[in-house]
Symmetry: C2
Subunit: 450 residues, 2 copies
């Protein structure tokens, strides 16, 4: 075996262990705060869903002393429970941030594990902000190294890579040594799991919650002396080769400290699989520009990235969760209601499009497009052809949501779940996170009044 310090995972571990907030450029820190506003928005939006209730009911008897907040709820738990449930809430609608190169939702497991431990440990805001950047960096670089084959094969990359993000984030917060950080990666590697097959079901959220909890525990286990293989990622039977047919090892450490993956993050305007975003933009245009109604549509043709077809050609779905990854439902509900908020992807909304009839959709794969771009043609029953081209969906890197739009999303998430806390104060605290002496003040604002 090569000297362990020359291995890419050891270099990445040393980078995270040594990272100081002064090493992170201001624009990157601002991106991190945008990501935090967005993730609290989606966690607030998701915190009352049935899967969250099931998880809280089942896991609460296994909680130690309740020193960590659960977003949007008065109930508290230990840091492991809070990490689990808050990651679930944040990602349940797939409405959280998206790292375009990998389609990871990086923030869910990172913010959840991080704030859970930070609250229990009363860590300062600046350390949390640094650790948040560190976690996303590790998570997305590992994702880059195994993409695109990993997700295409059927691994739920937000879960499989999310456990590394959580481990790195908490590891940064508690200042693991380079050696300990490497072994936190080992601990995360043996717990990495998650299946695309579970998309659109409660079970998807289970691997996301587990990744947050297991990443947190990985860092704490490494702190207490747990060790693993020297090459958990790049070894002969390491995670990378097992999880990908085309490993790009150089992605782990290339331009480390110069190129920041959080700059690749995007924030969604609609609570759907990211590949559906341009479809919704197109249908909103058809409704506004052409006054097109669902009843008039005979069929739809979409030219898009192959993942659009692979992930969202689901005409016969029955639940809100499935509706979020169904192009057919998205098209129908937007043409019916003229909007695409959280209410449009409920069980009720899905029943509505089933009753109204979802349009027949023909997908044309165009691998030259990125996932934010489509051309859509609607054929009407009276023989018209209405064409819309979306070169870059709202929320994509070329059309990012503004800071104000992200704040509006935070208020909307809170409204959706009936949150009665002080959203304005939460937004302000997040934009000034590095000034907080104790980050528990911030996460407590998200838990709302007792």
């Amino acid at each position: 075996m090569a000297n362990s310090s020359s291995l890419p995972e050891a270099e990445l571990a040393a980078f995270v262990a040594g990272l100081r907030i002064e090493d992170i450029p201001q624009p990157v820190l601002h991106q991190a705060k945008r990501s935090l506003v967005n993730i609290f928005a989606t966690a607030l939006g998701g915190c009352r869903q049935p899967a969250i209730e099931v998880a809280l009911t089942t896991l609460s008897p296994f909680s130690g002393p309740a020193n960590a907040s659960v977003v949007g709820r008065s109930q508290r738990g230990d840091a492991a429970l809070a990490a689990f449930v808050n990651a679930m809430s944040a990602n349940i609608f797939d409405f959280d941030d998206t790292h375009e190169a990998t389609i990871i939702h990086p923030a869910a497991t990172v913010f959840a594990s991080l704030f859970a431990h930070a609250e229990a440990a009363r860590a300062p805001g600046a350390a949390v902000l640094r650790a948040f950047v560190a976690g996303g960096e590790v998570e997305c670089r590992i994702g880059n190294a195994i993409s695109p084959s990993h997700y295409a094969r059927g691994w739920h990359i937000t879960s499989t890579c999310g456990v590394f993000g959580a481990a790195a984030a908490v590891g940064s917060l508690i200042r693991l040594s380079p050696h300990q950080m490497l072994h936190a990666f080992s601990a995360a590697a043996v717990q990495s799991s998650g299946l695309v097959e579970a998309l659109g079901t409660m079970a998807k959220s289970l691997s996301v919650g587990g990744a947050a909890r297991n990443g947190l525990l990985s860092a704490l286990l490494a702190k207490n002396g747990l060790t693993g293989p020297q090459a958990p990622l790049c070894g002969q039977h390491g995670l990378l080769r097992l999880h990908s047919d085309g490993v790009r090892v150089e992605a782990l450490t290339g331009r480390l400290g110069a190129l920041w993956e959080i700059g690749e993050n995007t924030y969604k305007p609609y609570p759907v699989g990211v590949v559906v975003n341009p479809v919704i933009d197109a249908c909103l245009q058809l409704r506004e520009r052409d006054r097109l109604s669902l009843a008039e549509v005979a069929s739809i043709e979409i030219s898009g990235h192959p993942l659009l077809r692979q992930r969202t050609d689901r005409p016969d779905i029955a639940t809100g969760r499935e509706g979020q990854v169904s192009a057919q439902h998205a098209i129908a509900i937007v043409l019916l209601r003229g909007r695409a908020g959280l209410e449009e992807f409920s069980d009720q909304a899905v029943a509505e499009t089933l009753a109204a009839g979802r349009p027949r959709v023909r997908f044309q794969d165009d691998p030259s497009r990125d996932i934010a771009s489509i051309a859509l043609t609607a054929r009407t029953r009276d023989g018209r052809e209405l064409a819309v081209t979306i070169p870059a969906a709202l929320g994509s890197r070329k059309q990012p949501l503004s800071d104000a739009q992200l704040e509006a999303k935070l208020f909307e998430g809170a409204r959706f779940s009936g949150f009665r806390g002080e959203v304005r104060r939460l937004a302000d605290a997040l934009w000034r996170l590095e000034e907080a002496e104790d980050a528990s003040q911030v996460i407590r604002l998200a838990a709302g009044p007792a």
Copy 2:
């Protein structure tokens, strides 16, 4: 999608949900009790290892009310913690049961999750015995369906399949409906993880412990309403295809209720990777028959199953954990000491063979052999060639340990870790498990005096 009730995972779930102890033949129940005596032996043997201390230290703050026993220790925890730690202890030396067709160690995650929940719930012994059979059955059938490619690729099959065993066992104990059992499988599927790269390190035990805890929680989550995909195993992106290059779906349900996988279990005489067993037998013979000493050996040649070379050609290892999967260390220590107990695979014993010099070993792959069979030739410094053939290692299916040898292993495990409880009473309670009104009496005997 096919009707869900026609899917193999649905059939398997229905089988487990409907299983009664009267459906299980007496010889199978006796095999289950042999497996239990063996797993308590290895859990008692492993319960004082450093990885267990790290896990207990790290996880105890995250334990709810302590209503479950930790094997060999006075400390208690909630069922999730007990399941985690007891599975780690049982498997830490790879001294637990081995399902020969897959090289799964089936009992560790099953017994740990099962007794943890049974104690908390005060379940009767007969239900625990039935559920133990059910858990191993599911675990090994899923293993069969993805073998041999799964383990060969580098998945730690005891962990990846162990989570299903735990879910099925606890699911049987708490009497999940067929529908709930299917979704317990879904919950297990999204949490299935573990890497061969971690063999010989503490991190291996982490995925085993996690599998026990996560399997337990999968059953409880399903009971509380968590649902997942209809085809978590056989779906397009289901676990089987992701985890194997050669799926054998028919293994999931073929001869279900007629052929019992626990009958394929074997119990080890030595605390080493199962493929090393015949190597130890051969070296014990060389020492006894030929009075061969380590100092006399010039080189060793072994013809064996390819897994012997792939997993155990490790001449340069430095720790007891690594020593258990090093043919070179095993040969050296047996020729030095004339025995192969737990003390022979400690850090100290490994230092001893390093100092004495481990022999050079040449491996010849012979895929026609099973893993219990080798031919070994020792060349001595004075030019002799000593040959030994082991057609079936002690502990293999053709040379199983007797019930009395299993009991002796239980006493030996207790002795190794300085256990001060009543081993005789524990053995008797296990052989009569189905008579216990409350299985908590049994697991408490394994925890020893407070």
